[in-house]
């Protein structure tokens, strides 16, 4: 089963790159001209996100470097400890929505220390694989169309993140068992 899905993942983009231009050609589209026409907006779209990304990443970076994030981790740990989240993975859980790179660094470090096939290693792998950098995604997507009022997006995003965290811990306990 995994093999099929993995093949699908590897083939998806090449197949798209084969079929889309081919079908477009058959339908009478000037393929080269149309491609360039679409690609024209690439630069401006990417550049437009800069002020939004700078605003968000500066705040996250200050928050993290100052040690404030460690305090948040400390405050959250008794709560998360109660629902069975091991202390080692806590920094990852708090960091994940804010900074993708930092969270991946923590995950890599834990896998290196505990081994990928330990309980903690498997748990952190599940957590890393199942979560997204919510703040970055919101900032980037909204920023690209000039939106600065996110309404309830952050709440729904973070509650999904929290659910994914709890579900990861639950399923890891069920399948891999704590050591």
């Amino acid at each position: 089963m995994f093999g099929i899905v993995s093949d699908l993942s590897r083939w998806a983009i090449p197949v798209v790159l084969l079929l889309v231009p081919l079908i477009a050609m058959i339908r009478g589209v000037n393929v080269f001209e149309k491609f360039v026409e679409g690609a024209e907006d690439g630069f401006s779209t990417a550049i437009k996100t800069i002020p939004y990304l700078v605003a968000m990443l500066v705040a996250i970076s200050v928050f993290r470097a100052s040690g404030a994030l460690d305090i948040v981790t400390g405050v959250c740990s008794p709560v998360l400890d109660k629902v069975g989240v091991p202390a080692e993975v806590l920094p990852h859980a708090v960091m994940r929505p804010l900074s993708g790179g930092a969270a991946l660094g923590i995950a890599t470090d834990i896998i290196k220390t505990h081994g990928p096939d330990s309980f903690i290693g498997r748990l952190i792998s599940t957590m890393q694989g199942s979560s997204d950098t919510t703040f970055y995604v919101l900032t980037l997507y909204f920023g690209s169309v000039g939106i600065s009022r996110y309404r309830y997006s952050i709440i729904s995003g973070l509650s999904a993140d929290f659910t994914t965290l709890i579900a990861s811990v639950y399923v890891a306990h069920k399948l891999f068992g704590p050591i």
């Binding site: 995994f2 899905v5 993942s9 998806a12 983009i13 889309v20 477009a24 339908r27 589209v29 491609f35 360039v36 026409e37 679409g38 690609a39 690439g42 779209t45 550049i47 800069i50 990304l53 700078v54 500066v58 996250i60 970076s61 200050v62 470097a65 100052s66 404030a68 991946l104 995950a107 990928p116 096939d117 498997r122 792998s125 599940t126 890393q128 694989g129 199942s130 997204d132 995604v137 919101l138 980037l140 909204f142 169309v145 600065s148 009022r149 996110y150 309830y152 997006s153 952050i154 709440i155 729904s156 995003g157 509650s159 999904a160 993140d161 994914t164 709890i166 990861s168 399923v171 891999f176």
Partner: protein, 196 residues
């Protein structure tokens, strides 16, 4: 909401740094953050330009609309405010498919195209997120993942006997996350529509 979170991170960050006696980290961290942001945008230029070209072809060939039509039953439930067969739907479906397959590089540009299409439908304040955008982002960040590519690679590097054994647990966890994302989005949409 984002105002408070942003202000909170800044103010608390500076105060904590001052209190801990290492105020000097603040300036450096701020500039590092800015540099990472610009670097990220720069990296995006290539990917976005490339995929916008391909997407334009797909649109001209009628493929985006065809895709939107195929998934109409689900999307008309999730996005009641978006007209049927609108190109936004095609882009949303492609973005979510790329996410599901763990193709982050392709997912982002398609997501941005979807946002542009949704912005065209925005009849209110152009600086404020619409219902459809909030639903799309909830689905996007809480999306089911079949192949967590990055972490499988890292497990392989550190000598895991079975790097892909976490695929099942990831699918389970993301399925739970996605369910809650959809439910929360619906509830919040209702609450917000009554408050404002």
């Amino acid at each position: 909401m984002v105002n408070y979170i942003w202000l909170g991170m800044m103010v608390v960050g500076v105060l904590v740094a001052g209190f801990n006696g290492h105020i000097e980290v603040v300036t450096k961290a701020a500039l590092d953050g800015a540099r990472v942001a610009v670097q990220t945008a720069m990296d995006l230029i290539a990917i976005i330009t490339f995929w916008l070209g391909i997407m334009k072809l797909a649109e001209a060939a009628g493929l985006v609309r065809a895709l939107a039509r195929m998934v109409r039953p689900i999307t008309s439930f999730l996005f009641p405010s978006v007209p049927r067969d609108h190109p936004a739907m095609g882009a949303i479906v492609m973005n979510l498919s790329a996410n599901i397959l763990g193709l982050g590089n392709a997912a982002t540009p398609m997501g941005l195209i979807a946002m542009q299409e949704l912005q065209k439908l925005n009849r209110g304040d152009p600086k404020e997120a619409t219902d459809a955008m909030c639903t799309f982002l909830a689905l996007n960040t809480g999306c089911i993942t079949l192949i967590p590519t990055t972490i499988i690679g890292i497990r392989l590097i550190y000598g895991s006997a079975d790097p892909t054994e976490i695929v099942g647990t990831t699918i389970f966890a993301t399925a739970c996350g996605m369910t809650v994302a959809v439910i929360m989005d619906r509830m919040l949409r209702y609450i917000y529509s009554r408050r404002w």
